[in-house]
């Protein structure tokens, strides 16, 4: 279980972004987080995944030294989340030994492995990012607006694969999106952030 208790975050110029936020995510649960832009959804995601430190509050899952964090974040812009000078195979290997079943599950074609990120479309690249995330064997995944830049078909494909995988493997998934219809369709529970 991922437990977030009383987390607060203040921007550099003393503007409080959010205060005293709590939530729990169970293994195998799909949780939606909706809300307007600019109220700190992405910041919260970064705090939970260990990119940022909260001013106050506690999170019960922390990164072990030299190991990958058991909460992994999938970013909104896949082209910024992969090193442009690396081929796809190296990008995947960064997270661990490429597991063929995961690569297959995400419809990553063998020939993509020798390409550079620029040679893949946004939807294809996002699938690579998701595969990398799964290869890191996280217990919890935070998907921050991962399909905002994609067409509806890629969006549906990605969420289908992701939701099926997390339920089979008892991974907790937090989907952050401004699209409440999408969240209602996918999540067991939707939290309106603030």
């Amino acid at each position: 279980m991922l437990k977030i208790e009383g987390v607060s975050y203040t921007l550099p110029d003393d503007v409080p972004l959010f205060q005293n936020f709590s939530m729990t995510v169970n293994n195998g649960e799909i949780l939606g987080l909706s809300g307007k832009s600019g109220i700190g959804k992405t910041t919260l995601a970064k705090i939970i995944a260990g990119y940022l430190r909260a001013d106050h509050g506690q999170i019960n899952v922390q990164q072990m030294k030299g190991k990958s964090h058991s909460v992994q974040l999938i970013w909104q812009h896949p082209e910024q989340a992969v090193n442009p000078k690396w081929r796809i195979d190296k990008t995947l290997e960064e997270a661990g030994v490429p597991d063929q079943s995961i690569i297959k599950k995400l419809n990553i074609l063998p020939e993509w492995l020798y390409r550079y990120p620029k040679q893949l479309s946004g939807g294809e690249l996002q699938r690579v990012c998701i595969a990398r995330c799964l290869l890191a064997q996280p217990e919890f995944i935070i998907a921050d607006e991962i399909t905002t830049m994609l067409d509806p078909i890629s969006q549906a494909e990605i969420f289908k694969i992701l939701t099926e995988h997390v339920q089979q493997n008892k991974i907790g998934l937090v989907i952050i999106s401004h699209d409440t219809v999408l969240l209602d369709n996918l999540c067991h529970k939707v939290i309106d952030f603030k």
């Binding site: 989340a81 442009p84 997270a95």
Partner: protein
């Protein structure tokens, strides 16, 4: 496109290699042909000891270029080291940036003379002096690049995947810094050569028996008033030409890397 930088580079390398083929003993004293103006036999003329100025100039260029390459490499390396140090935390960054500001605010030549003088001149003094005065510009560029890279999601993500600091520096940062290092090296090089010649001319640099362009120029000063213009004209011109040739190569290469980046930003929608 390729011709634009290949030709200057080939000329440059050709002259450098030729200068190696010439034996130092070829600069022999022959008082019978002293003070001769340029002729077909001695293209650059001869000096007051009858030495052939063409050979002296080529040997001088060889020394200059060697010092240039050596110091440019050392400065670039120092820049890389300091920019990596500054990326560790805020305190170290402040220290490095204030050093950059300090060195950039002082006139280059003055710092160079000071350091070389303290080190007692000679080859060692010149090389260390040049290294310690040419690092700030490249350090600033590299530091900015690293700051930007550290903000990129894929670099931050690497840490969350459990990769240690040195691994991230080697695999994520270095491939992006390599072009900057190359450009930095190439831009420092002509600077270093000119500064070496300058302090040697002023008498703080290499010792008088070295066949350096700076030495040739400062010695020729005494004979210029006697109308022996070729003693200063040809060596000075050769140095200038070498710098210009190299600068051309450097600029094209810089544009090449600049163009590469703008291509990456191309919208293909």
């Amino acid at each position: 496109m390729k011709r634009k930088w290949i030709i200057p580079l080939v000329i440059f390398i050709f002259i450098y290699i030729t200068s190696f083929l010439l034996d130092r003993n070829m600069i022999e004293i022959n008082l019978q042909i002293k003070n001769q103006a340029p002729s077909l036999l001695h293209l650059f003329g001869t000096d007051w000891l009858g030495r052939d100025m063409l050979i002296r100039t080529l040997k001088g260029l060889q020394l200059s270029i060697t010092i240039g390459i050596l110091t440019a490499m050392l400065s670039t390396f120092l820049g890389l080291l300091l920019s990596l140090v500054s990326s560790v935390n805020k305190t170290l960054d402040k220290i490095v940036t204030s050093f950059i500001d300090l060195f950039l605010s002082l006139p280059h030549l003055v710092t160079l003379i000071l350091i070389t003088f303290v080190l007692g001149g000679g080859l060692k003094g010149v090389v260390i002096g040049l290294m310690l005065t040419h690092w700030p510009a490249i350090t600033r560029v590299l530091r900015a690049e690293i700051l930007q890279l550290k903000e990129m999601p894929y670099v931050q993500l690497s840490k969350q995947l459990g990769k240690p600091l040195w691994w991230r520096a080697r695999h994520h940062l270095f491939p992006h810094l390599a072009p900057q290092l190359l450009v930095g090296f190439i831009l420092i090089f002509p600077h270093a050569i000119l500064h070496e010649a300058a302090i040697t001319f002023l008498g703080f640099g290499l010792s008088a028996e070295e066949p350096a362009i700076g030495i040739i120029l400062s010695e020729s000063m005494q004979y210029l008033s006697a109308g022996m213009w070729w003693l200063a004209f040809f060596p000075g011109l050769s140095l200038l030409m070498m710098i210009i040739i190299f600068q051309r190569f450097a600029n094209t290469l810089k544009d090449y890397f600049g163009r590469d980046r703008s291509y990456e930003q191309q919208v293909n929608d």
